[in-house]
Each structure stands twice: as structure tokens, then as C-alpha cells.
């Protein structure tokens, strides 16, 4: 019972940040049809900026709780600045090229951005644990739970809810849904696709950076840590269904819980199990467990 | 008369939609058969079943006495039934000549022979001869994606013929071709096909083409064959006129010839 609870909380915590990052990846894929490897760089940039900012704020005497302001700031600044710059200079000029070439271009971008991080932030790891200190631990079912992790779960719920509202209740969201559903039809209906592409790319970048920023206080932010996240979020997106928002949630939950179970019970299969599920989904249901066309109607 | 192609009790349903309903026909060697019908009448479904793209829900197709129901397209091709397509299916980034070379290469090679070189002098000579025969030799070195529609259609048919099939199914050879070009194109095709002594079934919307080139008409309506007769008879059949020709541009003339309808009646039904 206690074990099940631990797996659940661990898994949910893990699923939360995977969901936020994968949500960004999946909306970019759904709308632009680009599998963005550079998404891992948004994540890493978000984490570095956040850790750096927390350090600065803390030296200025801001309270541990107050340093949390660094998280949204880092996510927004990184997402908007980096996302805009990349969309304007690279992505925009690749529309219409072979999709694999575009993936490769984003891989090139990823390599570049990884190193720019080193040039800007140096090679030493950053520790920015202040926000975690501000969160009191909580007893759940007799087990001590890290408070920060619980806020992460809350954040992912909020992000999921906001995305749902934006996509289903606003004009812009309906445009986006229309394009995911059928971009040619959307063009025929007079949607300014280029503009939607731009906004979605930036929004996706913000989400990627937010995932990184939020995770930053719980880990040592060090070179190369975006590498694993890319392929994990690919797995999440593939499992759920590429381009599907509901799918990102399901995929993240599955990966998070599976991994938490593996880590606690059967560490040897920790990574293996995630990718085995990914392969199985591709084999038996390549459109994903939560196919986008069925997820929404316009 | 022995049937080279025989369909018996063919049915095909897609969910609730019936695309073919109890089709029974026998086609004799060297016949030229026109398949007509409004859009969605089941013409292409029939072609797709004969060539293996679709498996019939029930019924059987026999070719030269052999049951070919449900075989894959490539097997049916190898047995001697080839087809062309409504939208020409060619290798868009290859030249006209290379398109034919690849087609010849596959037709020539069985088993491990596919590992032999593609460019043999003898094969190149054959490719050139075929290009001349279909009067597209002047486009020899042009990349297929840059070809005019009519030439691409001829290439498509030429590629279907390299395997020297016993039966050729043409799916709307003149669709997308201008009125001025259509007879020229069909003359080239039909004279080339006659030389090869191939049995031809072709789907056609254009009644002028049907009247001029076929010896027998199969009229489809809602998945069923409603008429099977020589063109002179079929094109004045009241059912054919009501369900098939009524939609066609030449419908009016046909109706008048049949003494069936005064101007303006029923054409939009």
C-alpha cells in the first residue's frame, strides 16, 4: 500500500514535468508537423536561466519562496526570445522541405544551442534548490512527501487545464485545433497559417522552457542534461499520439508511472520499459493511443 | 469462345456501402470492353478487384481458368493482367526513358535476376522502341514530373504494357485530356495494343470514345451491371441512358438519337 502510494506520487511528479515538456513538443508537431529536436534545448535553456536567476535573486536577499518568481520569468523569456528567434530565422525557411530534413535541421539547432549554453553559463553545474526549501513537506498516508513535487503536479494540472480552455474556448485555440485537424482546410477557410505557426512555436518553446525551469531546483543543472529529455518526450508524444494534447497527458502518465515503478521495484528495466512501450505502441497502434483526429471535432 | 477473364458473384462492401453487387461477366480473348457508369457506380472498384488492389467480399475472379481472387497486385501483374491509372502512376523524378527501363527491368527479372545490371544495351533498345511506338520518344530524356498530362498518361500505359500482359485494364485513359487530344491519344494506344494482341477492358466516361473503340459495353450502376451489350445496343438502352449517360455531356445527343427525350428533361436527375 505504501509502496503503491510512493510509486503513484513519484510517478505523478515525474509525469508532470514530462507532460509540460511534451505538451510543447506535441502542439508544435500537431500544428507545424515538425518534430522539434531542439525542444530539448528549450528545456535546458529554461533550466539554466531559472537556476541562474534563482541564484542571483537569492544573493540579492530575496526569500526562498520569492525566488520562485524566477520560474515563470525564465520560461517566458527563454520561450519567447529563443522561440521567436528560431522560428524567424530557421524554421520559417524550412516549411515545405522534406520532414526528415527539418528534423535534422532541428538536431543541428540543438547542438548549437547546447553549446551556446556552455558559452553563456559555463561548464560548472548550477544548484538552485531554494524554492524546494520554501515548500514544507507533507505527510500523505504516513509517508513524507516532498512539497515541491506536489506543486509540480498542481502546476501540470493548471497547465493542462489552461491549454484545454485556450484550445476549446478561445478563437485562437479553435484556429489551432482547425489546423491540427486539417491544415489545408484551414488555409482554405482563410486562416493565416504562418501567424498561427509562429504563435504555436513560441508557445511550445515556452512550455519546453517551463518544464526545464520548474525541474531546475530539484536537480543539479549541468551540461548535456537536455539530451535524455528529448527522446523521453518523443516517447511520450508517440505513445499518446503525435499532435494530440490528451495523448501527451496519457503518454506522460504512462511513462511517469512505469518509470517510477521500475525505479522502485525493478531498476534494471527503468529505461528499457519506456522505449519498449513506445515500440509496442508504434507497432500496434502507430497513430498513438489517443489519436488526434478523434480527440477533437471542429 | 473461351473466357480469359471470368468474374462470378463478385460482391464488395465498405461498411454499409455496396461498391459491387453480384457481378458476373466473362470476357473472351481479344475482346475490347468498355466499362461505363456514373461516378461511384463501381467501375474502379471492379478494376481494383481484378488487379488485386481490393479483395472482393465474396465471389471469385478467374483468369485463364485460374482463380486469382485476393492475390496481391504484383502476383496478378506477373500472371499477365496489367493496368493503367486514372491519375498516371509514374516515377516522377526519373526521366521517361528511365521509367521504362525500370519497368522493363522488373518485367524481365525473376528471382535473383533483379541483381543484374539495369542498363543492358538490349534493354535500352527495347525501351527506345516502345517510346517510339507510343510516340513519346521526343520526351525521352525529360523528367516525368515536367511532362504534359497526355504524355504522362501514354507513359503510364506504356509502362503497364512492358510486361506483355494478356489483359490490360485502362482506368479512364482520357480523363484530364483535352477534347482535341483525346482521339489522337486513343488512336496511338489502341493501335499499339492491337499489335500486341491484348484483351482490353477500359473504364471510360466519354461516350464518343466508347462508341468508337469498344466492341462491348458493361454499364455499372450502384455496383451492379445493368447492361452488357455491344455499344450500338448499349448506348440506346433506356436504363443506360437513365442511369449512366444522363450525367454525361453527350447525354443529350444520345437521348435524342434514341428518340427518348425532348430537350432539357431529366438531365440533372
Amino acid at each position: 500500500m505504501n509502496l503503491a502510494l510512493t510509486i503513484l506520487v513519484e510517478g505523478l511528479g515525474y509525469a508532470s514535468y514530462l507532460f509540460i515538456v511534451s505538451l510543447g513538443l506535441t502542439i508544435i508537431f500537431g500544428v507545424l508537423k515538425i518534430l522539434n529536436v531542439a525542444h530539448g534545448a528549450f528545456y535546458a535553456w529554461g533550466a539554466y536561466s531559472c537556476a541562474f536567476l534563482i541564484g542571483e535573486l537569492s544573493t540579492m536577499g530575496v526569500s526562498d519562496l520569492g525566488t520562485m518568481i524566477a520560474i515563470p520569468i525564465a520560461a517566458l523569456v527563454v520561450g519567447v526570445v529563443l522561440g521567436s528567434a528560431i522560428e524567424r530565422t530557421i524554421i520559417r525557411n524550412l516549411y515545405g522541405r522534406d520532414e526528415v530534413i527539418i528534423v535534422l535541421a532541428t538536431f543541428g539547432l540543438f547542438l548549437v544551442l547546447e553549446d551556446v549554453i556552455l558559452l553563456v553559463f559555463g561548464v560548472d553545474p548550477y544548484f538552485a534548490f531554494q524554492p524546494t526549501l520554501a515548500m514544507p513537506g507533507v505527510q500523505i498516508g504516513g509517508i513524507y512527501q516532498d512539497g515541491y513535487k506536489l506543486t509540480m503536479i498542481a502546476l501540470s494540472l493548471v497547465v493542462g487545464l489552461i491549454s484545454w480552455i485556450v484550445l476549446n474556448r478561445t478563437h485562437w485555440g479553435k484556429l489551432v485545433s482547425a489546423i491540427i485537424f486539417d491544415s489545408e482546410l484551414a488555409v482554405a477557410m482563410g486562416v493565416n497559417v504562418r501567424r498561427v505557426f509562429y504563435v504555436v512555436f513560441v508557445a511550445g518553446a515556452v512550455l519546453g522552457a517551463l518544464g526545464g525551469a520548474y525541474i531546475a531546483p530539484t536537480i543539479s543543472v549541468s551540461p548535456g542534461f537536455g539530451v535524455e529529455v528529448i527522446v523521453l518526450s518523443f516517447a511520450v508524444v508517440v505513445i499518446g499520439g503525435m499532435g494530440s494534447i490528451g495523448g501527451a497527458a496519457i503518454g506522460a502518465l504512462m511513462v511517469g508511472l512505469l518509470r517510477a515503478y521500475a525505479v522502485l521495484q525493478w531498476p534494471e528495466i527503468e529505461l528499457f520499459v519506456v522505449y519498449a512501450v513506445m515500440a509496442a505502441v508504434l507497432i500496434f497502434r502507430p497513430e498513438g493511443l489517443f489519436a488526434p483526429a478523434k480527440a477533437r471535432k471542429i | 469462345m473461351t473466357a480469359i477473364l471470368e468474374a462470378s458473384g463478385l460482391n464488395k462492401t465498405f461498411g454499409a456501402v455496396t461498391a459491387a453487387k453480384d457481378i458476373n461477366i466473362a470476357v473472351a480473348r481479344d475482346e475490347i470492353v468498355g466499362i461505363i457508369g456514373a461516378n461511384g457506380a463501381g467501375k474502379t472498384t471492379f478494376v481494383n478487384m481484378v488487379t488485386g488492389w481490393l479483395t472482393p467480399t465474396s465471389g471469385a475472379i478467374r483468369f485463364d481458368g485460374r482463380d486469382i481472387t485476393g492475390l496481391a497486385p504484383r502476383r496478378i501483374t506477373r500472371l499477365g493482367i496489367c493496368r493503367s491509372f486514372q491519375v498516371a502512376q509514374v516515377f516522377m523524378t526519373a526521366t521517361v526513358f528511365d521509367n521504362l527501363m525500370i519497368a522493363l527491368g522488373i518485367a524481365d527479372s525473376h528471382g535473383l535476376a533483379v541483381l543484374k545490371p539495369l542498363r543492358l544495351a538490349e534493354r535500352e533498345a527495347r525501351a527506345d522502341a516502345i517510346l517510339r511506338r507510343y510516340r513519346i520518344h521526343e520526351y525521352r530524356d525529360q523528367v516525368a514530373s515536367t511532362l504534359p498530362q497526355g504524355i504522362r498518361k501514354l507513359l503510364d500505359i506504356a509502362m503497364a504494357m512492358v510486361a506483355e500482359p494478356k489483359i490490360l485494364l485502362l482506368d479512364e485513359p482520357t480523363s484530364g485530356i483535352s477534347v482535341e487530344e483525346k482521339f489522337g491519344l486513343m488512336d496511338i494506344v489502341m493501335s499499339a495494343l492491337k499489335e500486341d494482341g491484348v484483351t482490353v477492358l477500359f473504364v471510360e466516361h466519354d461516350m464518343e470514345i466508347v462508341e468508337r473503340y469498344v466492341g462491348r459495353v458493361l454499364a455499372f450502376y450502384q455496383g451492379e451491371i445493368i447492361c452488357d451489350a455491344p455499344p450500338a445496343q448499349a448506348l440506346i438502352d433506356p436504363k443506360v441512358i437513365e442511369f449512366v449517360i444522363g450525367d454525361e455531356p453527350q447525354g443529350q445527343a444520345m437521348r435524342e438519337r434514341a428518340g427518348l427525350a425532348p430537350a432539357g428533361e431529366g438531365s440533372d436527375a
Binding site: L94, D98, E99, V100, I101, V103, L104, A105, F107, G108, L109, F110, L111, V112, E114, D115, L119, V227, I230, V231, F234, V238, M242, E268, I269, E270, L271, F272, Y275, A276, M278, A279, L282, I283 | A72, P73, R74, T77, R78, R83, V90, F91, M92, T93, A94, D98, M101, I102, G105, I106, A107, S109, V114, L115, P117, L118, R119, A121, V143, M159
Partner: protein, 331 residues
């Protein structure tokens, strides 16, 4: 016009002979070892070029690279087999067998699904290797000293020279065979499959079979590449041999080289290796930046890869390729 010795074969033979001679008599050890690493990787790229011509790009060939590398390393470690005439063919064979088995599934996929399924399979192997204590987990383990005809050596220059000559020989042979393959009827079913699968089926050939064959071929070549790399580095580990970044790198060199010629992978791979080494020496913390920037530059300015540049400069070289379709892989 088809002769047994066409221009490409003569060119390849002269080119590889020249490199081999240069390596043995002129090049310093460090450069020879760069060529060794580069030509090893080029074997994998050669296979990926065949897939790319078919319109398929795999983001998971690190699977076969890793299988080849670990096969060589494990034969030495667990069975005491160090004879390269056994270990290297075994590397190719193991990869080919796994490729053949997975090929039954993979041949049904195209485009991004093809790329992703390969990625998933390769990451499964990665996930297994990083957690396998017996194989050194994330640290991997070192490869036993190789032997040729049962003879081993402690002299690193001799060892390097032998491996170098071996990779030149295998590279030459593979390039000639792949060139011959591309000039065959089956070889024409690369761009033909990419252009129009329906037509290929209706000409009487199975698209699935055509893709499967090419996939196994690329797996075998990538396995060989992994085997050579393991011997060259004297060490195997999951991170540098099986992780997705390795697959990315292989695809990178494929695009850098371009699908125009079987010689391109060797030239592209060598340039990549030199670029990486110099970038690393010049700016240790920013070599990825230079490499990534180069990749972007190639995508934007040289869509046909380096080979398109070479053939532009060299005039009408491309016309000499039998069965070769118009160089650029762009649609």
C-alpha cells in the same frame, strides 16, 4: 555501355589504393586513426544513403552500430575470440540478423513513423545496456587486443596500420558492391520506391521486400561500422555507441555527404571527423556549435550534400553512374 570496370569502380579502386598508400607511408598516426574512425562510420553512412534514396531515414541505426560494436567486444571478452576475420563478419552478421527480424515490422512504416520506430528499437537496446552490470553499464568495457590470422601485437602503430588497411579494404569492397547494387534492377527500386510504391507493385515487385532487403543491407553495413569503431577505440559504451545522438550523427553525415555517389560517404565522413577534431581543439566547449552550424549550413545551402558540390566543380561526373538517379535526394 555497361562494362565490368566502369568509371566509378576505377575511381573507387584508385582512390582507396591512394588512401591506403598514403596511410602506410605518409600519414602520421593520429591522422591515420582519424581516417580509420571516419571510414568506419562511412560504412554505416553507405547503408543509410541507400535507405535515403528510398525515401527513408532512420533515427535508430545506433541499434545496429551498437550491436556490431558489442558483438566484437563480447566475442573477445566472453569467448576469447579476437580474430578480426571472425569478429568483424560476426558484427555485420548479428546486425543483419536483427535487422532481418525487425525488418518484418519496420518495412511497413514510412516517413516519421519509420524514423521513430527505429529510434524506439535503438533506445530499447540502450536501455538494456546502461542497466547491464555484466557489460559495465554506462561505463562499458574495453575491447581485447585484436588478432589477425591469430597474430596479435602490442605495437600500437602496427595495430593501427592493420586496422586502417582493413577498413580501406572493406570500405572499397562495400562501396563497389553498393555501387553495383545501385546499378542493378533492384538498385533502381530505391528512388522508384520513393517516387511511387503503387507503380512498383503494379510492375510486379513487392515494395515491402525491396525495402526489407535495403534495410538488412544498411543494418549489416552499420554493424560492420560499429565493429570497426569498437576495435579502433578499444572501448565500447552505450553513450557513444547506442544513444540516439549516435543515430543523429549518422544521419547528419548522410545528409552532409549527399546521396549522389558511393564515394560521398567516405569523403563526408572524413570531413566530419576532421571538422569535429579541429572544432574540439579550437574551441573545446563549442565544437558542437560548429558541427551543428555546419549541418544547418548544408541543409540550407547544399541540399544535395557535399557530393553535389564536388560534381558541380568536377563537371559531368554524375552522368557516369549507371543506374544512378539524379543525384539530389530532394523532392
Amino acid at each position: 555501355m555497361t562494362q565490368f570496370m566502369d568509371r566509378t569502380v576505377i575511381g573507387l579502386t584508385l582512390g582507396f589504393a591512394l588512401v591506403a598508400l598514403l596511410g602506410v607511408f605518409v600519414l602520421p598516426d593520429w591522422l591515420m586513426s582519424q581516417v580509420l574512425i571516419a571510414f568506419s562510420r562511412a560504412l554505416a553512412v553507405l547503408g543509410l544513403v541507400v535507405l535515403w534514396r528510398t525515401g527513408l531515414i532512420s533515427f535508430g541505426h545506433a541499434l545496429y552500430f551498437g550491436l556490431g560494436a558489442y558483438t566484437v567486444a563480447m566475442l573477445g571478452k566472453d569467448l576469447g575470440v579476437t580474430e578480426v576475420l571472425i569478429t568483424l563478419p560476426a558484427a555485420g552478421l548479428v546486425a543483419a540478423v536483427v535487422g532481418f527480424a525487425l525488418g518484418f515490422i519496420i518495412r511497413k512504416y514510412r516517413e516519421i513513423f519509420f524514423a521513430m520506430l527505429n529510434l524506439a528499437f535503438s533506445m530499447v537496446l540502450f536501455g538494456i545496456l546502461v542497466k547491464t552490470e555484466a557489460l559495465g553499464s554506462t561505463d562499458g568495457f574495453s575491447v581485447e587486443q585484436p588478432t589477425l590470422f591469430g597474430i596479435g601485437t602490442e605495437d600500437s602503430t602496427v595495430k593501427l596500420t592493420v586496422l586502417f588497411l582493413a577498413v580501406c579494404t572493406v570500405g572499397w569492397l562495400s562501396a563497389v558492391l553498393v555501387h553495383r547494387y545501385l546499378g542493378s534492377v533492384l538498385g533502381s527500386l530505391t528512388t522508384a520506391v520513393r517516387d511511387n510504391e503503387i507503380r512498383v507493385e503494379y510492375l510486379g515487385y513487392s515494395v515491402a521486400q525491396a525495402i526489407h532487403g535495403k534495410y538488412v543491407m544498411s543494418a549489416a553495413l552499420t554493424g560492420l561500422a560499429g565493429g570497426f569503431t569498437a576495435l579502433a577505440l578499444g572501448q565500447v559504451d552505450p553513450e557513444s555507441m547506442v544513444n540516439w545522438t549516435v543515430s543523429g550523427e549518422l544521419v547528419f553525415v548522410t545528409v552532409l555527404s549527399g546521396p549522389g555517389s558511393v564515394a560521398a560517404p567516405f569523403i563526408g565522413s572524413l570531413l566530419f571527423e576532421l571538422l569535429r577534431t579541429y572544432a574540439f581543439e579550437l574551441v573545446p566547449y563549442a565544437w558542437q556549435l560548429i558541427v551543428g552550424g555546419t549541418l544547418l549550413a548544408v541543409i540550407f545551402f547544399l541540399p544535395g550534400g557535399l557530393w553535389s558540390l564536388i560534381s558541380k566543380l568536377g563537371g559531368r561526373d554524375r552522368a557516369a553512374q549507371p543506374g544512378g538517379n539524379r543525384g539530389e535526394g530532394e523532392r
